[in-house]
């Protein structure tokens, strides 16, 4: 399209000059480089990980002893609501997004994502959404309706003030960011694979990113609708969840979990992808059953849509519905089990290298299996009637989300850190980090199983001494503190390793996929020459071609260096230029969302900014040199 000359290309007059320099704050605000965007996603999400962790610690301190009053009941409600919301939307999803951004274009041999500026828009909308949601702490109290926000508890009559409205607006803004990112990655993965990389030759992490993106794109609109309906109820007085006018609060539960259950897989599928990259690399063996793992992922992604009512077994949907959803929920354990057996078989007979990344991945398999099995126990609706809203459920979803997603994300951080920075993280501190986190995690969430079976309900503010819950709760609180220490060790590891700066080279792990075939950190255009792909794990077979001939003895590694980009002619690099319009649209959307709660003047200002940003965006050329117009 670029070949056609455009005579009178209109450009919006610029208020700020288009940044040129690749340094400084201005560059970071206007960057469209997927790696920089991934870094920012990671940093912001990690900041919220610390905030969410502090919230969790405060909850644990409050529950450490019977009848303690470290927090007030009102603040306690805000704490557990924001802990849940933060960890799901502000931590696990964006940390996964950080990996998507950093790794996917590298793994498929692309120079950037398909729509670099849309990618920047996702980032800025996400960042301002997180800020919007957390402003509520300072203007009359954070949301306190739980991360699921069931009406009528979240309706205006029972929950005056702006807390819940901030929560809904924040979620909707974050939803825009997620959908934009999801669309971008679907197009990137389908359309920007290197020549020869068929769908069934893509790395598993890329596959899981694709499935996750599809789920995001289809599930988040449902949350948006739920949010619009609740906001309309709260602000304009509509009747969606108003039982006085015939509205049904159960309806919210349906819509929320229609979204909420695919969301669970949005959180865990990227983790499964990361583990599927780490295990083969450090077992020095191909992934066992690549096709089975990919199809299991697709099946999970599809079946995840038809299990939502297992969150509502005690609502009274009737025996027919409960039975149907019991069956679908138990069935979904099958593809998950397929994956677990595939991972174990990958380890089987491999020459395993137990470094930090691998330890976290193995920890993931063990913890996720425990969490999955306890999940199957409340898939059975009669049994769930006993477990609903007890700490048993809390134990279950922390085993799959912390023991699953967070362990895998740490595994991914240790695995790809040298690719991000060019230097290695310290292994000794890393192992301390893993051991502390593993012990702390099990100490915190293990006892919650029997706490729940002893009848301790979720979300209670405190309990009396005669309930017999004190010892287990104290253990859980200690576990929480140990996790906090392990996170501090991780931060210390980064600081100490940065001082040491042990050079990693492009391919420190002798790894398998394309991202290791270029320098670390990669140049901003990633690949000097787009690679031609012949096999799954193409980089591995380029290094060990003899393995392709079925020869497994006395393998010699070919002398292949990572791609050298030192002598590239700078004038021949035409990557997309920087753009500050995504930032402007992000700010505008957030201001408009704030305005919905306060005054239409703000909505107008916000929408004008969005309009200005969109026009500027669509009239500026992607690249000033080639005048290409996207």
């Amino acid at each position: 399209m670029s070949s056609i000359a455009k005579p009178k290309q209109f450009q919006l007059p610029r208020i700020f000059p288009r940044p040129k320099s690749h340094k400084g704050l201005w560059y970071w605000l206007a960057t469209v480089d997927h790696k920089k965007i991934g870094t920012m996603y990671g940093l912001v999400a990690f900041f919220w990980f610390l905030v969410g962790g502090i919230e969790a610690l405060l909850i644990r301190l409050q529950l450490g002893q019977a009848e303690s009053s470290i927090l007030s009941p009102e603040v306690y409600n805000q704490m557990f609501t924001m802990h849940g919301t933060t960890m799901v939307f502000l931590v696990v999803m964006p940390l996964s997004a950080a990996f998507f951004n950093w790794i996917v274009p590298l793994q498929i041999g692309a120079r950037d994502v398909a729509f670099p500026r849309l990618n920047a828009l996702s980032l800025w909308v996400f960042i301002f959404g997180t800020i919007l949601m957390n402003i509520s702490w300072f203007v009359g109290g954070a949301p306190n309706g739980g991360w699921f926000g069931y009406p009528p508890n979240s309706s205006l009559g029972f929950n005056p003030g702006n807390g819940i409205t901030y929560w809904v607006m924040g979620l909707n803004i974050l939803g825009v960011a997620s959908i934009a990112a999801g669309l971008n990655f679907i197009v990137t993965i389908i359309n920007m694979r290197a020549p020869g990389m068929h769908m069934m030759k893509m790395p598993v992490f890329t596959w899981m990113t694709l499935i996750t993106s599809v789920l995001i794109v289809l599930a988040l609109p449902i949350l948006a609708v739920a949010g619009i309906q609740l906001t309309a109820d709260r602000i304009y007085g509509t009747n969606f969840f108003n039982s006085e006018a015939g509205g049904d609060p159960i309806f919210w539960q349906h819509i929320f979990w229609l979204f909420g259950h695919p969301e669970v897989y949005i959180l865990i599928l990227p983790a499964m992808g990361i583990v599927s990259e780490v295990l083969p690399t450090f077992s020095r063996k191909p992934l066992f059953g690549y096709t089975a793992i990919v199809f299991a992922g697709i099946v999970i992604g599809f079946m995840g849509w038809f299990v939502w009512s297992h969150h509502m077994f005690t609502v009274g949907l009737g025996p027919a519905a409960n039975t149907a959803f019991t069956i679908t929920t138990m069935l979904i354990a099958i593809p998950t089990g397929v994956k677990i057996f595939n991972w174990i078989s990958t380890l089987w007979g491999g020459s395993i290298k137990l470094n930090t990344s691998m330890l976290f991945s193995i920890g993931f398999i063990a913890m996720f299996t425990i969490g999955g099995l306890s999940g199957v126990t409340h898939a059975a609706s009669p049994s769930d009637a006993q477990q609903q809203d007890t700490y048993y459920i809390v134990a279950h979803f922390h085993y799959v989300l912390f023991g699953g997603s967070i362990f895998a994300i740490f595994s991914g951080i240790y695995y790809w850190w040298p690719k991000f920075t060019g230097w290695l993280l310290d292994e000794k501190l890393g192992k301390i980090n893993f051991v502390l986190m593993f012990i702390g995690f099990n100490l915190q969430f293990g006892p919650m199983h029997w706490l729940g079976l002893n009848g301790m309900p979720r979300r209670i503010y405190t309990y009396t001494e005669d309930m017999g819950w004190e010892d287990s709760n104290l253990a859980a609180t200690l576990g929480g503190l140990i996790i906090a220490i392990s996170v501090l060790v991780f931060l210390g590891n980064i600081i100490l390793s940065k001082r040491k700066k042990q050079n990693s080279g492009g391919d420190p792990w002798d790894a398998r996929t394309l991202e290791w075939s270029i320098a670390s950190p990669p140049p901003h255009y990633n690949f000097v020459q787009i690679p031609k792909v012949k096999h799954i794990d193409d980089w591995w077979y380029r290094k060990y071609p003899e393995l392709l001939e079925g020869n497994n003895q006395n393998i010699k590694k070919q002398k292949i260096e990572v791609e050298d980009s030192s002598n590239v002619d700078e004038s021949k690099i035409h990557m997309p230029d920087l753009s500050y319009y995504p930032l402007i649209i992000g700010v505008g959307l957030t201001i408009a969302a704030l305005g919905v709660m306060y005054t239409y003047a703000l909505v107008t200002i916000g929408l004008i900014m969005v309009f200005w940003g969109s026009i500027g965006w669509s009239t500026e050329p992607v690249n000033e040199d080639s005048k290409e117009h996207h």
């Binding site: 399209m1 692309a110 120079r111 197009v187 509509t238 006018a245 509205g247 309806f251 020459q529 669509s618």
Partner: protein
């Protein structure tokens, strides 16, 4: 490693399926929008005949008027497909004419909607009054918001076309706007069938209070 390699990022360099990025993005977005409208339509159907007090659909909905606006929107779909056809053939005059006509038809549709809303409000049917009002107004107004966004987009394209920036070479820009426009149209096809034609005979549900207001 050769030093005189040109490093470039774009569709024509890295495109594994041969289809345009933008078109793929738009289709995927439409898939996403299916779920958005699907949830609203499902809400409407689930709350059908559940209002406790009036006005009810049979008191308010006016099929002849909505049929006209439906027909206008339907024909705007024809307009945009013709505009795209003539743009691809580089018949700029016809292309501009049809695009302008589509924009006018879109504005007519929005005008009908504004008239309808104000008429309903005048009769006493508001989003606050009952479940029918809540579900009806959110769905139709969000559809209207989609149409309005589409109108802005088409105006932007028309200006570009007039200035010579949109031509047969980058007809893809009009094509994806057209896909969006058609989608808004098919959503209205579903809304017209479900919210208007099927619902319009719904009277007082058993146990609810009959409506005595209005004309």
């Amino acid at each position: 490693m050769s030093t005189n390699v040109t490093i470039h990022h774009g569709e024509e360099i890295n495109n594994s399926t041969g289809v345009s990025h933008k078109k793929l993005l738009m289709w995927t977005f439409l898939g996403s929008d299916v779920m958005f409208f699907g949830t609203f339509i499902a809400t409407f159907m689930a709350y059908r005949n559940k209002s406790l007090n009036g006005p009810y659909p049979e008191d308010t909905l006016n099929i002849p008027i909505t049929s006209v606006s439906t027909f206008v929107l339907l024909m705007s779909s024809l307009g945009i497909v013709l505009a795209l056809h003539y743009l691809k053939e580089a018949k700029m005059g016809l292309a501009k004419f049809w695009l302008l006509l589509v924009i006018i038809m879109g504005i007519i549709f929005i005008g009908f909607q504004i008239y309808e809303f104000s008429h309903f409000a005048h009769m006493g049917m508001t989003p606050q009054v009952n479940l029918f009002g809540s579900t009806f107004f959110t769905l139709t107004s969000l559809h209207g918001a989609h149409v309005s966004l589409g109108i802005l987009w088409l105006i932007f394209l028309l200006i570009n076309e007039h200035r010579g920036n949109l031509n047969s070479g980058n007809a893809i820009d009009l094509e994806i706007a057209g896909l969006y426009w058609h989608f808004v149209d098919i959503v209205w096809i579903v809304i017209f069938a479900l919210l208007y034609l099927i619902t319009a005979n719904d009277g007082v549900p058993p146990g609810s209070i009959p409506w005595i207001g209005g004309h």
